[in-house]
C-alpha cells in the first residue's frame, strides 16, 4: 500500500521580513505555511497583504527570511515562478480599447502559452466566468462586474497552480459579489489553489477553508477555519433577567476560579481551555445560583470578525 503524501504548502514563509527604504516595515518576520485549497489572507489596510503578494510574484527581494511558492523557492527563480501563478489586482488594470477575448488571450500568451492555445483557453475561461456573449466587446463598455470577471479570466487563462486574488469583490453590487464568490469558491474544485486577500471576513468565511490573519506585518492566526472556530477555548454566554447580569456572572465565575470577560451588558466570554466540557455545567450552575436567565451558550465564535478582533486585541 502506498503511503499518502500530503500536498506541499502553496506558500511557505519563514521569518519573512520586508522593510522599505524610509524605515517602513511591511512584513516583520512572518512565518506561515499555507496549504493547497482556498485560503483567505486577512488583514486591515497596511497589514502587509499586497507586500506579501509582491514577494510571492518575485517582484521584489525580501529584506530577510525564506519564501517558497508552490514548492519552489522564489529567490531561485523569481521570474519563472510567475508562469504558474495567476494574479488578479484590486484596481482597474485592463486595456479598455481591446476586447475581453483579445486581452485574456494576450495574457495567456504572456504566460507562455502558444498563440492558438491562448485563444482557445481565452474562449474557455471567459465562458467559465460568464462572459461568453460579451467576449468580443471592448472592455471600455463593460460594467464593474464584467471587468472583475475579465480580470479573473486573465488570471486563470494559463491554468495556474495558484491564483492570488486581491479584493475580488471590491466595488461589486450584492448580486455581482455573490456571483464572484461563487466563482472563486469553485476554483479549488478545479485543482487551482486560491489565496484571497481581503478585509471582508464574510467573504473568506463563505469560500475559504483556511485563513491566514496578519496585522502590521505579523502573523496573528492561521489554520483551518472550522478548527479555529471550534477550538478557540472560549464560550460565549448570553444572560439576562436583571440589570448587570453579565457583570454578576463574571464575578460569580471568578469565585469558582473560572476566568471570564465581560463583552457587553448581556454577554460574557468564558475561558474554557482548562475545564473542557465541564465548563458547561459550571456555567449553568453559576447562572442558576445567581438567579439569572440563560439565553444562549456557544463555544463557537459567531464570525471570523470576532476571532480577528480578539486576536488583534490580544
Amino acid at each position: 500500500m502506498q503511503a499518502i503524501v500530503p500536498a506541499p504548502p502553496v506558500l511557505r514563509a519563514a521569518g519573512l521580513t520586508m522593510s522599505y527604504p524610509g524605515g517602513t516595515t511591511a512584513l516583520a518576520g512572518l512565518t506561515v505555511d499555507v496549504p493547497p485549497g482556498s485560503v483567505g489572507l486577512v488583514g486591515a489596510n497596511g497589514a502587509g497583504k499586497t507586500t506579501l503578494f509582491r514577494l510571492m510574484l518575485g517582484l521584489m527581494q525580501p529584506s530577510g527570511g525564506w519564501l517558497e511558492v508552490t514548492g519552489r523557492p522564489v529567490a531561485s527563480d523569481p521570474v519563472g515562478i510567475r508562469s504558474r501563478l495567476g494574479y488578479m489586482p484590486e484596481h482597474d488594470c485592463l486595456p479598455l480599447d481591446q476586447t475581453a477575448a483579445d486581452v485574456v488571450a494576450t495574457f495567456g500568451e504572456l504566460a507562455g502559452l502558444p498563440t492558438r492555445a491562448a485563444r482557445q483557453r481565452s474562449s474557455d475561461v471567459l465562458d467559465l466566468v460568464g462572459l461568453d456573449e460579451a467576449r468580443f466587446r471592448p472592455i471600455g463598455g463593460f460594467s464593474t462586474g464584467m471587468r472583475q470577471r475579465t480580470k479573473l479570466a486573465q488570471a486563470l487563462v494559463a491554468d495556474p497552480r495558484l491564483v492570488l486574488l486581491d479584493e475580488p469583490t471590491a466595488g461589486l453590487d450584492p448580486v455581482g459579489r455573490e456571483e464572484m464568490l461563487e466563482l472563486v469558491g469553485r476554483l479549488a474544485g478545479f485543482g487551482i489553489s486560491v489565496i484571497l486577500a481581503t478585509h471582508l471576513l464574510d467573504d473568506v468565511q463563505r469560500v475559504c477553508e483556511h485563513v491566514v490573519m496578519i496585522d502590521r506585518g505579523r502573523l496573528v492566526l492561521a489554520g483551518p477555519i472550522d478548527q479555529l472556530m471550534q477550538t478557540t477555548g472560549l464560550m460565549r454566554v448570553e444572560v439576562g433577567g436583571r440589570d448587570g447580569a453579565a457583570a454578576a456572572l463574571v464575578e460569580g465565575l471568578a469565585s469558582r476560579s473560572i476566568t471570564a470577560a465581560l463583552v457587553d451588558e448581556h454577554n460574557v466570554d468564558v475561558d474554557t481551555s482548562d475545564q473542557g466540557d465541564v465548563a458547561f455545567d459550571l456555567v449553568r450552575d453559576a447562572v442558576a445560583d445567581l438567579g439569572l436567565r440563560l439565553y444562549a451558550l456557544s463555544t463557537r465564535h459567531r464570525s471570523l470578525d470576532d476571532l480577528f478582533l480578539r486576536e488583534v486585541q490580544v
Binding site: 499586497t50 503578494f53 509582491r54 510574484l57 517582484l59 521584489m60 521570474v79 519563472g80 510567475r82 508562469s83 501563478l85 495567476g86 494574479y87 489586482p89 484596481h91 482597474d92 488594470c93 485592463l94 486595456p95 479598455l96 480599447d97 483579445d102 494576450t106 495574457f107 500568451e109 504572456l110 504566460a111 507562455g112 502559452l113 502558444p114 498563440t115 492555445a117 483557453r121 474557455d124 465562458d127 467559465l128 486573465q154 494559463a158 491554468d159 486581491d166 469553485r186 478545479f190 485543482g191
Partner: protein
C-alpha cells in the same frame, strides 16, 4: 462532461474547467509574445480600420519615391536620351526619408507604452514571466522592427525594380552589390535610434498626446538650435552641431555609405566629426535605453 439533455433533443454540455496540459514557454516566449503583440498594435492589426489607416498609408507613401524612380527608368528605357544615370533618389538618400518615419514613431511609440501605465496594465504584465528589461526590449524592438520594415521595404522595391528595368540585370546587381549591406545597416541604425528615443520619451508620461509632442518637439528644437549654432560658426563648422539629435543617425548613415560625413552634415567641417557623430549617436541611444531600464526596473502592484 455532463449532458443535461437527452442527445435526441440536442445536448447542452457543462464543460466545466479544463486544465491545460500543452506546451508552456518561459521568459523568452513571454518576451517574444509581448514583442509580437506590440507589433500588432503598432500596425493596427486586430484594431479598428481607423487604427490601420496611418501605418499602412505611411508605408504606401514611403514607397512612392521607389515606384516613381523605377517607373521613370522603365518609361525612359527605350528613349533616345540616355537615362541610365537617372536617379530620382539614391539608396543613401532614401534612408533619410526620416521625417515621415519620425512622425510614425511620434504617433506609435506613445500608443504602445502610455496606456500600459495610464490604465495600470503594467502590474498585470509583470505578474507574468517578464522583467522590466524584457518589457523594454519587446517595446523598443517592436517599434524598431516596424520602422525598419517601413524604411527597408521601399528600398527593396527600388533595388529590385531598378534591376528589372535595367538592360543587364546581373550587371546592375554586381555594380550595386554594396548597398545590400549598406541599406540594412543604415536602416537598422535609424530604426534603433528612433525607436529608443521615441519609447524613452513616451515612457515619461501617461498621456499619448504629450509623448508624441515631446518626440516631435525634441527633434524640432534640437534642429533649430543646431542650425543657429552652425550659422554662427560659419564655414569652419562647430562640434556643437551634435545637439541635432535628428541628424545623428543620418551622419552615421553617411559614414556607412560614403565612408565620411556628407557636405550637408553640420559636423562636416569639424575635425573628427565622424567620430564625434558616432559617439554622440551611441550616447543618445544608450542614454535612452538606460532611461527605459530605469523606468521599468520596478513596478507597483
Amino acid at each position: 462532461m455532463t449532458a443535461v439533455l437527452p442527445p435526441s433533443l440536442g445536448a447542452v454540455y457543462d464543460r466545466g474547467y479544463r486544465p491545460y496540459e500543452g506546451p508552456r514557454g518561459s521568459r523568452r516566449e513571454a518576451g517574444l509574445a509581448l514583442w509580437r503583440l506590440t507589433l500588432r498594435r503598432a500596425l493596427g492589426l486586430r484594431r479598428s480600420w481607423r487604427q490601420k489607416v496611418f501605418p499602412w498609408s505611411l508605408l504606401a507613401i514611403a514607397t512612392v519615391p521607389a515606384i516613381v524612380n523605377v517607373g521613370v527608368g522603365y518609361v525612359a528605357k527605350d528613349s533616345p536620351v540616355d537615362f541610365r544615370d537617372f536617379s530620382f533618389i539614391t539608396y543613401r538618400e532614401y534612408v533619410g526619408v526620416s521625417t515621415a518615419l519620425l512622425l510614425f514613431v511620434a504617433l506609435t511609440a506613445p500608443d504602445v507604452v502610455c496606456p500600459d501605465r495610464s490604465q495600470r496594465v503594467l502590474p498585470l504584465l509583470f505578474s507574468r514571466p517578464l522583467t522590466g528589461v524584457d518589457y523594454v526590449v519587446a517595446k523598443v524592438g517592436a517599434i524598431a522592427t516596424v520602422v525598419f520594415g517601413f524604411a527597408f521595404l521601399p528600398q527593396v522595391v527600388l533595388f529590385v525594380g531598378q534591376m528589372l528595368v535595367s538592360d543587364r540585370a546581373l550587371d546592375y546587381f554586381t555594380d550595386n552589390a554594396e548597398v545590400l549591406w549598406q541599406v540594412p545597416a543604415a536602416v537598422a541604425v535609424l530604426a534603433m535610434y528612433y525607436a529608443a528615443i521615441g519609447v524613452a520619451l513616451a515612457s515619461l508620461t501617461d498621456r499619448r498626446i504629450v509623448g508624441g509632442v515631446a518626440i516631435l518637439g525634441l527633434a524640432l528644437v534640437t534642429s533649430a538650435i543646431a542650425a543657429i549654432l552652425i550659422e554662427a560658426a560659419g564655414e569652419e563648422g562647430t562640434p556643437l552641431a551634435v545637439v541635432n539629435v535628428l541628424a545623428l543617425p543620418l551622419d552615421v548613415r553617411d559614414l556607412i555609405f560614403l565612408g565620411h560625413l556628407s557636405d550637408d552634415s553640420g559636423l562636416s567641417g569639424v575635425g573628427g566629426g565622424g567620430v564625434l557623430a558616432v559617439t554622440a549617436y551611441l550616447m543618445v541611444l544608450v542614454g535612452a535605453l538606460a532611461l527605459l531600464f530605469h523606468r521599468y526596473r520596478e513596478v507597483d502592484l
